[in-house]
Symmetry: C2
C-alpha cells in the first residue's frame, strides 16, 4: 500500500521533511540496535565469568566426606553453563559486526537517496516562494479593484477612473499569471513528491526487512543458547540422579577404608629356644585368625593357633593383620558423573 | 550393604576416627552447599539487574522513525527476563533458608550421635593401652625364658636355676593374663565398633538423602526458570513476527501524517464588490479540487471552480486544504505487541 504517497501532503508541504528525517532516523535505529546487542553481549560475558567462578567454587568443594563426589557434578555443570553464555556473547559480537556492516551500507544508500530526492526538496521550496508571490499578487489585485470601485462610487473624473481601471486590469493579469505559475509549480511538486514518497517507503521497507533479519539472528542465537542451557540442566539432573546414595557410601568406604580385617584375638605364644635364633624370636609371633566366639584363654595353645590359620595374613607387632589393600582403591573408575 | 561395618577395621584401629570425622565433614558439605547456592543467587540477581538495565535501554530507544515500535518488544522481553531471574534469585534465597534449617538440625544430630558413640571411642583407647601392655608382658616373658635357658645351658647352680624358672613361670602367667585381657578388650571394641559403624552409615545415608533433596530443589528452581525464560523468548519471537513491515510503515504514516490532501490548484478569483463586505473579501477564496490534468489557465473561471467543489474542504491562505484529521491517529490500538 502507498502509505507514504498518501499521507505526507497537507497545507505546510511538510511531508517531504518528515519522510526525509524518517529515513535518517533509520541510522539512529541501527546504531541503537548495535548498542542494545553490545549491552546484551556484555551481560552474557559477565554471566559466563560468574559461572566460571561458581565452577571454581565447586571444584574447591571439600574432598572429604561422602558428599565430595557431588561437587564434580556442580563443577561440570557450572563450567558448561559458562561456556554456553560465552558462546552467546561471541554470537552477539558477531551480530554487532553484521549490524556495523549494514550501518555502512545504510549511509551509502541514504547519500544516494538524498541526491535522488533533491529535486523534490527544490520543488517544495519553489512552491513556498510561489505561494508568497500568489498571496501578494492577490492582495494587490484586490486593493486595485477596491480603489477603482471607490473612484467609481465617488464619481471621480473619467481620466482618473480609467487610470485606476487600467491598474486593476494589470493587477488582474499579474494575479492570473501568478495563479497559473503557482498551479504549474504545484503540479511539479505533486509529481516529484509522489515519486519521492514512494522511494522513501521502498527504502523504509528494505530497512525494516534488514532490521528484522538482524533481530531474527539475535533471536536465533538466544534460542540456541537456551536449548544448550536446557541440555546442561538435564545432564546435571541426570548426573545427580545417577549418583546413588549407596554409591557415595560405597565409594567413600573404598577410598577411605582402614582395612577389612577385624581385630584378631591374640594367642599365648610359648617360648622355645630351639625354634628360632635368639634376638629374632620376639618379632616372629603366631596368631590365630578369628572367630571371636572361640577365643583361647590357655597360654599353651600355640600350635592349634598356627594350624587354624592356613592362609594367615601378615600381622604386625600388636597382632593385627597388616592391610595389603591399603592403596588399591584410591583411584576409582568413573561412574558416569566424572568428566 | 554394610560398607562402613566392613571397611573401617585395620591394624591401627583408625576406622572410628575416619568415620567420626566423616560425619563432621557432613557439616562442611552443608555449609559449602549453602555458599554455592548463595553465590548462584548473587549471580542471578546481577543478571536480573542487568536485564532491567537493558529493558531501560530499550525503553529509551528512539521514538522517531518506523522502527520505534520494535523497542517496546525488546523492552517487554528484557523486563520479563529480569523478572524470571529475580524469581530464581528469590527461590535460591529460600533454598538457603532450608539449608540453614538443615544445618541446625545436623548439629543437633551430630551432638546426639557423639554421645552415643563415646563408648566406642573409649573402647579404642582401652584397646590401645592394652596393646602396649601386651607387648611389654610378651617381652618380659621372653627375656625371662632366655635367662632361664642360659643358666640351664651354662650349668648354673640348681637354686639359681629354680629362681629363674620361677620368674619365667610368673612372666608366662602375666603374659597369659594380658593375652586374655587384650582379647576381651578387643572383643568389646569389635562389638561397639560394629554398632557405631552401622550408626555412622545410617547417619550418612540420611545426610546424603537430605543433601540430594536440597539439590533437587535447586535443580527444580533452575528448571522452572528455564521454562519461563523459554516462554519469554517464544513471546519475543512471536511479537517480532507479528509486527509486519507493512504494519510499521502504516503505523508511522498514520502517526506522522501531514495530511492526505494533495496541493489543490488555485483558481483566479474575480473581484466583486457586491458579494462580500470589504476587508473580508481577501480571506474568502474559491478553489477547485484537482484533477491536475484539467488545470485552468483562464482568470475568469471562478464560477466553474466553485461548482466543481460541492464538498470543498476548509482551506488556508495558500489554497491548501486544512487537515481536520491531524490528531485523530495519534493513539493507535495495540497490535498485540504492546504490554
Amino acid at each position: 500500500m502507498a502509505f507514504f504517497k498518501n499521507n505526507f501532503w497537507g497545507e505546510k508541504n511538510a511531508g517531504f521533511d518528515v519522510l526525509y528525517h524518517n529515513m535518517k532516523h533509520g541510522q539512529l535505529a541501527t546504531k541503537e540496535l548495535a548498542e542494545f546487542v553490545r549491552e546484551r553481549a556484555a551481560i552474557e560475558e559477565t554471566y559466563s565469568k560468574s559461572m566460571s567462578k561458581l565452577a571454581k567454587m565447586a571444584s574447591n568443594g571439600s574432598s572429604l566426606g561422602t558428599f565430595a563426589p557431588m561437587w564434580d557434578v556442580f563443577r561440570v555443570s557450572s563450567d558448561k553453563l559458562a561456556l554456553c553464555h560465552l558462546e552467546l556473547m561471541r554470537k552477539m559480537n558477531s551480530l554487532i559486526n553484521d549490524i556495523n556492516k549494514y550501518t555502512d551500507e545504510q549511509v551509502k544508500i541514504h547519500r544516494k537517496t538524498k541526491e535522488e530526492v533533491v529535486g523534490t526538496l527544490e520543488a517544495v521550496q519553489t512552491l513556498q516562494v510561489q505561494s508568497g508571490q500568489l498571496q501578494k499578487s492577490r492582495e494587490n489585485y484586490h486593493s486595485k479593484c477596491v480603489e477603482a470601485d471607490r473612484l467609481r462610487r465617488e464619481g471621480a473624473p473619467q481620466k482618473e477612473l480609467e487610470k485606476a481601471e487600467l491598474k486593476s486590469k494589470k493587477a488582474a493579469e499579474s494575479f492570473s499569471s501568478c495563479v497559473e505559475k503557482y498551479n504549474r509549480v504545484g503540479g511539479d511538486f505533486e509529481q516529484k513528491m509522489s515519486e519521492s514518497a514512494q522511494k522513501f517507503q521502498e527504502l523504509e521497507e528494505a530497512h525494516l526487512r534488514q532490521m528484522k533479519q538482524l533481530i531474527k539472528a539475535y533471536s536465533h542465537s538466544i534460542e540456541d543458547t537456551h536449548v544448550q542451557v536446557g541440555q546442561v540442566h538435564e545432564e546435571f539432573k541426570q548426573n545427580v540422579e545417577n549418583i546413588g546414595i549407596e554409591n557415595l557410601i560405597k565409594k567413600f568406604a573404598e577410598q577411605k577404608s582402614t582395612g577389612t580385617d577385624r581385630p584378631a584375638p591374640v594367642g599365648f605364644e610359648e617360648y622355645s629356644s630351639s625354634q628360632v635364633p635368639e634376638g629374632k624370636k620376639s618379632r616372629s609371633k603366631a596368631f590365630r585368625i578369628p572367630g571371636l566366639g572361640k577365643r583361647d584363654k590357655e597360654p599353651d595353645s600355640t600350635d592349634t593357633a598356627v594350624t587354624e590359620a592356613p592362609n594367615s595374613p601378615q600381622v604386625d607387632d600388636e597382632g593385627f593383620v597388616i592391610r595389603n589393600d591399603a592403596n588399591q582403591n584410591d583411584i576409582l573408575p568413573c561412574d558416569g558423573f566424572c568428566s
